[in-house]
Symmetry: D3
Subunit: 317 residues, 6 copies
């Protein structure tokens, strides 16, 4: 196993998606979910080598999760199979046209039992970049320790670390998240957050520039603030740059943030400048929101320009 | 059987919904339909006791109709089963993205054979409010007599009566509707109508204020004028109040008016003031239009605030 | 419009099929149904010219019915569109794996309003054979008169008439059916019946040979007794011949009898001898039962030998 | 709340059913599952009053579970809603045509937190019979205590208790099951078991007659041994009676045992003799296996004779 | 076979449509596709007689194609069945909400083997108008010759010819298309093109007025420039007229241009003036984009006014 | 890339499966198909390292094919992407319950352009066994040369070659197949064939023992004759051994032969004796026929005993 471009870790789940309110029943479709695996798929589709480590059950859903990642070319050689715990499950309910609700069945899951030992081999192999999210430390004490260990180990080995805050209110409180995530940024180079997540890396209620300044002091060199349909803002020592989102018809916003991150990191792997990285981030975000699924619609390299210059209703024939 | 909060009566049908033009075939999905049962479901989901009376066949679709109402906690103990007539059926054709067409197979249906005797027990039990629509008197002579009898009996017992005009052009003409509905308002406290239905309760072409004044003279104390995406206007002796609609992505407007009425009546059962009742009416209307189905997406009490402060594409997790 | 090989008349309906109990809901798929149109499709698929006359509504289901018949090449130029009555509807419920139940919504339908005038042009054009079923005279007085008139007119013009008893217990009693159908056989050349229908053309409880003898006396020259999985028995003045059914996996028996008749008549149009006609009848019956739908699986001419020598699970590649 | 005919308690779950191997994904359909709720539905469909008590979450799946039971007319007034625990979930995988696998997500579920206090009101109201299964005591310590308490309380109040062994190998071992269930039979009148479950109520490996004799000594008066396609054997003080199964096409055996029990108890409520009770048990079992779903195909009273005298492929029209 | 109003020729294909990215699999639905057959269906639905000639395989997809055209009342008597070549196939991938991609499997198809002899009978029968598209000459040498022959033959017989440019970039280059199509316009009366296709009938990059002037010189008397949501522009010797599009919710733009042409030609068959023809063209375009499918949502004559005065979410009942 | 256990080569296609007759339309589901990839998946699911080489397009179906093989852990590093040719397609029509028909769209496909150069790297890497089928040499001249070259090269390197005859009547005649395949067996160690394919490796009409003797003379050491539901016969120098098939409910026989081969080869990789290899072959065959799809239901190693001792309708819970 040679070192991949991207190494990421976390919990990958089976996501069962409804098309309407759960209370009245109907059918659910099976998908791979997980912020980190979304990023890994996004990066792998563009031809970079990506690897994911984590823990899945020996149950059928564990097989499903691995089948999907393998299908996308994401390396799963380092994955631990846990015979005693089920693969985590989430139900994604389309409650109204505008509102989706997640219901987790991940307490006690294999993924939440992630521990330092699960990561040793992967970190030893190395990577060009390590991607972490703020979800993993919310899963369990061992997962929290594993996240911290991975960040430290990578940083100490000179591997840049990217952290997406990804606050999950159903898993932990903002205060607990802040207490855990802020110190983690000592080992982080790139921070990704939505605007309302930013103060989880600083004082409660702190404004953006203050948080960014703090992060720079801790050693972070890039802070990406996701603004949804308004695009994104990138803070670097050179200043602030705003990048607009592509204009597309949004049908499913789940996974858009992860796509954005994947695009940014792909640009970084390709050696693009900031503008180029942000543009690719916006492109992947646009693909993510204009199709169903968390990651199913992400582009391969030959498709990167597909949304350019096309208006709604375009047909290529 | 203790007295429910809401008593309503009418015809409940099986609605078979297409996703495209009927002429080219395809599949249809089965739903419970009926303006009055929609209101009953809306009220019951919010925790009020609701009962529906009417007549359904002993056929399988009759079972289906009762199963759905029971599922929603709507009382059906007073329902008459008619062994000789089928349960009414409607086909709801999604002709274009913007246009839905109903085709009724309800002539001679069990529901249209509703008669006074079917209602005696329910009226004797009483309720806090009786809800009627202008559909029932359009179904048959006996149903017309039953509607009139119910309005009179309730009014005489001090039970307030709510009437939603609900004009169905495929069932009767505007003139016939006017001739039947206008005298009915002598027994009515709350009138619900869309703007173009209002003159069915007055002179043809009469303007809103004239009709409202007439209705007030007949003893009506509240007139609610539904304005679709523009919200609603409430006329009371205290004056006129406009309430806006919530901003949501509309995917299916069928049932929105019934949801509005259910929300208003729920607010009334809860003792809310007019502003509060209108706000709840708008909330239920918003739930109805932002999901598929006539009533499937209506909120339970804990969900009432779910649409507040969320923009399109929100995910709760 | 030149004379077709087969002329048939009756009611064609939209059949909505469930895959499980109706009471618990689910989806229904749209199909063309009607014993006579089934026969017309079966015959047309084999390359004979077939025409169907009857009455359908101007509603969407009427369009659907005509689209399906046109698709199959069945002539519908003589069809009457009825602006005042809906196209008949039936619900076909798969109650258990072994039991299907039909529920009709055809009372007052366009098809049941069939009358003599609807048939004049078609009969004037003529045909090589007229096919009737015992369903049409059960629909209404005018349909009964039309059936009788058509049989008489055809017979008087030298056009042989085929009658399939097709008893529908939900439409009329055995006694009424007998009283209507028996005299009809005076004009009939070929009778098709299942074993338990045969005494509807004779004395109640009469045995097969007695009924056949009676029919021969009335001028019938062929009596085909359908025996389901046991094949069929053909009575002609030359004696009795039994023909076995093909061995296939049965998944849907609806339409099997009509397929049998279509096969027999196709053989007759092709000038086959009795054995050849019965073999083709058995072949079409086998196609009908080994696929879903009333007629969707019937063979084109090039497919007639497809079931020969194949066992379950065969793959042609 | 007046006393129902049948009172039962246990865990009701949402069952998500696949049509193929889970590992390759696809869609899942939502169903109500639970051995006890299956029995309650079966009994309620036949017109008896049935009530179910247990604990479900305040989540959407909890709503679903209650909607389904209410739809079927099963009383759920005594159900406890648990705001802190999710409603239990199971995945039912159609692994091959012959083999279905259950995967449970019920550890820590609301249903498994059932306790004595949840049952007090229901037991105080009483019933004509209390039905228990061997699944409930396998769920948790409190559920085990609750089962025992319910059996004792009912027996002490003169309410006969029916116990279906229903061994679930994924929940506990045979030895643990035996140690718990055997003493429980001191309070039981009717025992239901499959042949290989019988020795869970006696010595390991004990033969049927020995176990039955032991059970009689403990006060059991009827032992029903389910034999699948071979029918069932009933042991009473009057001797042993065998009853055959109805001959139907089996498409889904899940829920067949519960249907059998529901049929038997329905016969008991109706005052039928043993032969009549066994015949009804066999009838319900036949409906259960010849349609998809655990209970969806169970008959209403008017349908009890539907399978009599019909062969595969019958059509009622 | 009497002369139809519209005669058209080309390749009709089976179109398999996805609802998402092909790379992740899923299901495809079967449709009839083909620019010329779309026009024929649009015209036939409005009651004009339309006939299509071309070549399809003797395979199942060939049957499907013919079934669909017959269903719509399009004459297919002149169609050639090719036993040696398959019916053409296209995959229509819904890549994102805004972008659809066609993938053709039509190389070597029956349709591409179209030749002059296939058209002789149809041209001999005549028609009120011949419709051609720029797709057919892109299919093969013989198809190119056949298109030219048909245009010349019709023009020589006094049958006006309509040509829709319909450039397919996946079939040929703009230069090749220009070289073939420009001379073809010598025989053409009506030209239809989108704005970016217009210079395929003139010098590369020529502006609209120049191309139109050239076309007029060649004998064309009407040039229709399709502008999508902006409507259309009609050039005639009387000047330029702009017609707006109807305001509808667009869900599928495939087939919109063909619908526009069908509407225009229908107006021409009905003897409408230019404004009336353009209005009907816009109406059919609106139906096409506001429903799924290439032609499935096109109106029958009685439906032409259905979109007038209705806003999104209208329900007719 | 280290040497896999199994190396195989051929054409992998997208298979679009219908559930009924294609002529009446409906939906198709997407699957990976290909006799060789089926074997590779079967072997990989059991934990052996399997690699497939061949040529697929750069189109979306090419992506799909690779995604599926990667998902199953089949090595595709050696696959050639062909930018000029489409990935092959087949339509698998469920014509009746008993009969499936394949229709190929593989002429000119990427897969059929397989050539020697595509295989050099894979053969150089080596493997424990090379698996070929008689399909590949039927695809094109270059594919035929490539097959021959691979067999020779492997045999010369001491890698045993397995050949499954897999006659495809739609691709070539029996005579052509015989002329190509017979000389190929000079390099083959294991031959797999159905009984009616055996004489394609000998004289036309030759009986089994004669063909086997000839094959032994050419150096083959094992001849496996597949007998469908009757199991299989194995000829080795030690004699003939018959092995029965497992008794399961057959729902889809496509892929059963490939599963049989995969099972046999897995046993060979595991060092099982002939009886053990045949038993595993039968087990995989049973999994294949008792579930839908070519390979989707094949077992993982932990599932190998799943079908033992279970009768139809078993539930593991």
């Amino acid at each position: 196993m040679s070192a991949p471009d991207l190494l990421t870790l976390g919990e990958a789940l089976v996501s069962l998606r409804s098309t309407g309110p759960l209370a009245v029943g109907g059918s659910l479709t099976t998908h791979l979910a997980g912020a980190e695996s979304n990023v890994a798929v996004g990066v792998a589709r563009l031809g970079h080598r990506a690897a994911w480590v984590g823990r899945v059950g020996t149950d059928e859903f564990g097989e499903y999760v691995l089948r999907q990642m393998r299908a996308e070319g994401v390396g799963v050689d380092g994955v631990t199979r846990d015979p005693d715990r089920p693969t985590g499950l989430m139900i994604l309910e389309r409650r109204t046209a505008d509102l989706t609700r997640a219901q987790y069945h991940r307490a006690g899951s294999a993924g939440s039992a992630l521990c330092v030992d699960d990561l040793r081999a992967a970190l030893a192999t190395g990577a060009r970049l390590l991607h972490l999210t703020g979800i993993t430390p919310a899963l369990s004490d061992t997962a929290r320790a594993a996240t911290r260990w991975a960040a430290e180990t990578a940083a100490n080995s000179g591997i840049p670390v990217c952290l997406d805050v990804n606050h999950r209110a159903r898993l932990w409180s903002r205060d607990t998240a802040r207490a855990v995530l802020t110190p983690l940024t000592d080992h982080v180079s790139i921070v990704v957050a939505s605007a309302d997540e930013l103060d989880l890396l600083g004082e409660p209620g702190a404004d953006e520039s203050t948080v960014v300044a703090d992060l720079f002091r801790r050693g972070v060199h890039t802070v990406l603030v996701k603004l949804g349909a308004d695009g994104a803002r990138a803070h670097t020592p050179d200043g602030v740059r705003h990048a607009g989102a592509l204009s597309v018809t949004a049908v499913d916003t789940v996974g858009a943030g992860d796509a954005f991150t994947a695009g940014y990191l792909s640009g970084w792997f390709d050696g693009l400048d900031l503008a180029g990285r942000l543009r690719r981030a916006a492109t992947l975000g646009a693909f993510a929101v204009s199709g169903p699924g968390d990651w199913e619609g992400l582009p391969r390299r030959a498709e990167l320009s597909l949304l350019d210059g096309h208006e709604a209703g375009s047909v290529i024939r």
